[in-house]
Symmetry: C2
Subunit: 243 residues, 2 copies
């Protein structure tokens, strides 16, 4: 069995910009590869071939060593992001190693594949993709994942997050929330301007869309037990990578 | 016993802009009165006499009625804010009434007074004030509050939040986190410009300070299990009240 992980970047410490542990001081490990190809993917370089030559096949020990070199004793939390890290059975060993060193582990996946190591993730975000992505949710798989996690006592460690670009996406978010009402639910504003370097203009635009999304949620009876968040890293650092 | 609550404003639904349930769709009930007088208090009208004539003495039933009139079936969460709501023994009945109607309750207090009803709050934020406030923390009281909550199985329902304006405040935040290491800990950027109506300038300033605070946390070994947050409502709505 291949016990290496295809790694695209390792960086931090910084903060988590999204979702259930927004603001959390963390390191990032970004894995390569995705089974989706969302129209607005903000990390398309993980799967579109453009950063192919940057991919390194690393053992859990090598990843841990690099995290330590970068973060020293200034971190106790690691976020594994992608691409879709749930494609990688081999993450099991890295997660164990991080836990051995008293580091908490967060991970986000769209929920298209299950892995046994989901049960070990401290902050697991399932982020099914709305219609604007161009992708189709496989509800059989997603139902199964949520059920397994809940049946294994992981309710305190999971959340669902839907990125919303338009009203059709919002309807999708409503549907997802109704389907899994007991899972902590987050909606987030999508960033559809991934290339601008005018950070002030981007901030204004994202805050305007955030207000739009708040207004929608506020007006909607079926969206009460909901948290509405911006991507705080995009507000602070715009489209810069590796911060 | 007086079973009325001195209420200054009731508004919503909107979102919670700060702390452990940032982004949560909620209604607000703001109570009058505070035992502190922080130099940078953003709700000084609750205690400085300027809004004295707006204070209404309401029963829990009247508050509930008003929440329903405003929020209809578009909320399942109510945030009680101040002032310092912990001055009010009479909140007990309101909290029970909200729970009777399946509403969750969040509350923030500086931790200068204990109330038995702390045990019932779903999201309780203790927000001791740093040196820049001009106030002095009574550690005997704060220790006692944290201990009681932890001994009564409330660990999942509490957090500590420190607002940071300068490096001395940051040292204070470090001290608080070390004193209560097992309590989920949040640091937040302070807003020292409470009068400007230039929202864009305020947003830029607050995001700049947010980045400064992130950098401090990132560099500090004793601040690992920490979440750093902006006030998202100030980013979206500036200094406007009642949103
Ligand atoms: S699932 Fe995520 S990484 Fe994959 S294409 Fe969609 S947005 Fe990009
Ligand atoms: S404790 Fe809160 S309400 Fe009271 S003066 Fe300080 S900031 Fe204002």
């Amino acid at each position: 069995m291949n016990n290496k992980v295809p790694v695209l970047e390792i960086f931090g410490p910084t903060i988590q910009g999204e979702g259930m542990v927004v603001g959390r001081k963390t390191m990032f490990v970004r894995t390569a590869g995705c089974d989706y190809s969302c129209s607005w993917c903000d990390s398309a370089f993980t799967w579109d071939g453009s950063a192919k030559s940057d991919i390194r096949q690393l053992t859990d020990e090598e990843v841990w060593h690099e995290l330590q070199t970068l973060g020293g004793d200034r971190f106790d939390h690691v976020t594994i992001s992608g691409g879709n890290p749930a494609l990688l059975k081999s993450l099991d060993k890295l997660i164990d190693r991080l836990h051995d060193h008293q580091k908490q582990v967060a991970l986000e996946t769209q929920g298209s594949r299950f892995q046994e190591w989901f049960y070990k993730i401290d902050d697991l975000t399932l982020s099914p993709k709305p219609p604007s992505s161009g992708m189709k949710t496989n509800y059989e798989v997603l139902d199964d994942i949520v059920e397994r996690l809940q049946n294994n006592g992981r309710s305190q460690h999971i959340s669902i997050k839907v990125v919303v670009f338009d009203e059709t996406d919002f309807d999708y978010a409503k549907h997802i929330h109704q389907r899994y009402p007991s899972v902590p639910f987050f909606v987030q504003v999508g960033n559809d301007d991934l290339t601008t370097t005018d950070d002030d203009a981007l901030t204004r635009k994202l805050l305007g869309k955030y207000e739009w999304l708040i207004d929608l949620v506020v007006a909607t009876t079926d969206m009460n037990n909901v948290r509405v968040l911006p991507q705080v890293h995009a507000l602070v650092w715009g489209n810069k990578r590796g911060v």
